[in-house]
């Protein structure tokens, strides 16, 4: 997955529009897209697939629901990803939350780290 690739995905377009990434300085926007792209590459999922991973369907009714376990899994992946990237201090909170921002703007209610420094 590369930056231009993910930009064309519906979920990424929704994120860019919802979070107002177009109004960010170019460098900030590219950094956020790169974090998402690297994370997606790390977990072997396209952005659209990552959103779909968090949403399951009830066997009986087919109704969509947000899986707590899947979101816990994503949070675990994000912890591992942050450690592998060598992020420390506030970066270790802010950067994984870029991915959570992507998920949130695609309807996935997910919370993670807080910087209390």
């Amino acid at each position: 997955v590369t930056d231009p690739d993910i930009g064309s995905q519906g979920s990424v377009k929704q994120w860019v529009a919802g979070a107002g990434l177009d109004h960010d300085p170019a460098g900030t926007r590219e950094r956020k897209l790169a974090i998402l792209a690297d994370f997606c590459a790390r977990v072997g999922k396209e952005p659209d697939e990552l959103v779909a991973f968090c949403i399951l369907r009830k066997k009986a009714t087919g109704e969509r629901f947000l899986s707590v376990k899947r979101r816990e899994t994503v949070n675990g992946w994000l912890d591992e990803f942050a450690a592998e990237q060598g992020w420390t201090g506030k970066d270790a909170v802010v950067n994984p939350n870029v991915v959570r921002s992507f998920l949130i703007h695609n309807g996935v209610f997910i919370q993670g780290g807080v910087w209390r420094g």
Binding site: V68, N75, I104, Q111, V114, W115
Partner: protein
């Protein structure tokens, strides 16, 4: 603070100052307020476990978190886990007769020891205690009254508060909660990092949409002079403006401070 001002000032605070400690004295005020709440059969329906975030081990704190509560639990210095006691009927007979003896349940209204022993306990309370749905209903209503007292007392003490659902299964294990306690809410407590007025009161519908006089369908008619008085006395405050740009700016600043997603 005046009572009406306390009601008017309460908001669900979602951004707490994580590093400003909450005085245990203020928590005691909140618990005592809960302990003074109205309650059927003079029972202690409400139970609570007060957790100071920084007194919990990392392992325990992690167990209490879910993907939907992490931010709040990390930001709030204190989380009060509220439960309702499903065994509230135990001792009810004695408590009622004590109230009869004290004159709180007066003979003028029909209260006597035989009434408690022969009717109230065997015909009302015992059957109620064996009906799970009815027990959950009674416990939830009664615990809710106590929780509301505690919440408003917190506001009166200058604290920010917020009620939320929580992962009851995880908490039960970590907090060693007895089986007969029914999970209610968590009450997050701390000093607000956001504007304590949260940008204004949340939108509310007029009284006529929910409250009636005499019978359903005959809406309560508001008296404008009362509404105006409540505005002067602080119960009714300016609502959040339709133009939310100022609030959005505040949320963005808080997100930057705490490293949260936007």
């Amino acid at each position: 603070m005046e009572f009406k001002q306390v009601i008017g000032n309460r908001r669900t605070i979602r951004f707490f100052d994580p590093n400003r400690p909450v005085e245990p004295e203020k928590i005691q005020v909140m618990l005592e307020a809960a302990n003074r709440s109205s309650r059927a059969v003079n029972a202690d329906f409400a139970k609570a476990i007060v957790c100071y975030r920084d007194e919990l081990t990392d392992e325990v704190r992690e167990q209490l978190k879910t993907p939907t509560t992490t931010v709040q639990i990390d930001l709030a210095p204190v989380t009060i886990f509220w439960y309702g006691d499903a065994t509230f009927v135990n001792g009810a007979q004695d408590r009622l007769k004590e109230l009869v003896d004290l004159g709180a349940l007066p003979v003028t209204h029909g209260w006597t020891h035989p009434y408690v022993d022969d009717l109230v306990f065997p015909q009302v309370l015992e059957p109620l205690s064996k009906d799970q749905l009815a027990t959950t209903w009674a416990v939830s209503v009664e615990a809710g009254l106590a929780i509301a007292h505690a919440m408003l007392a917190g506001v009166d003490e200058g604290l920010g508060v917020g009620l939320h659902a929580f992962n009851a299964a995880g908490a039960k294990d970590v907090l060693k909660v007895p089986d007969h306690w029914i999970p209610m809410w968590i009450l997050l407590v701390g000093y607000p990092a956001e504007d304590a007025k949260g940008g204004g009161q949340r939108p509310r519908r007029p009284l006529s949409q929910s409250y009636y006089r005499g019978q359903y369908g005959n809406p309560w008619t508001e008296m404008p002079e009362v509404t105006e008085r409540l505005k002067r006395e602080g119960m009714i405050q300016d609502p959040m403006p339709a133009d939310a740009s100022e609030r959005m700016r505040e949320v963005k600043e808080l997100a930057e401070r705490f490293g949260l997603p936007t």
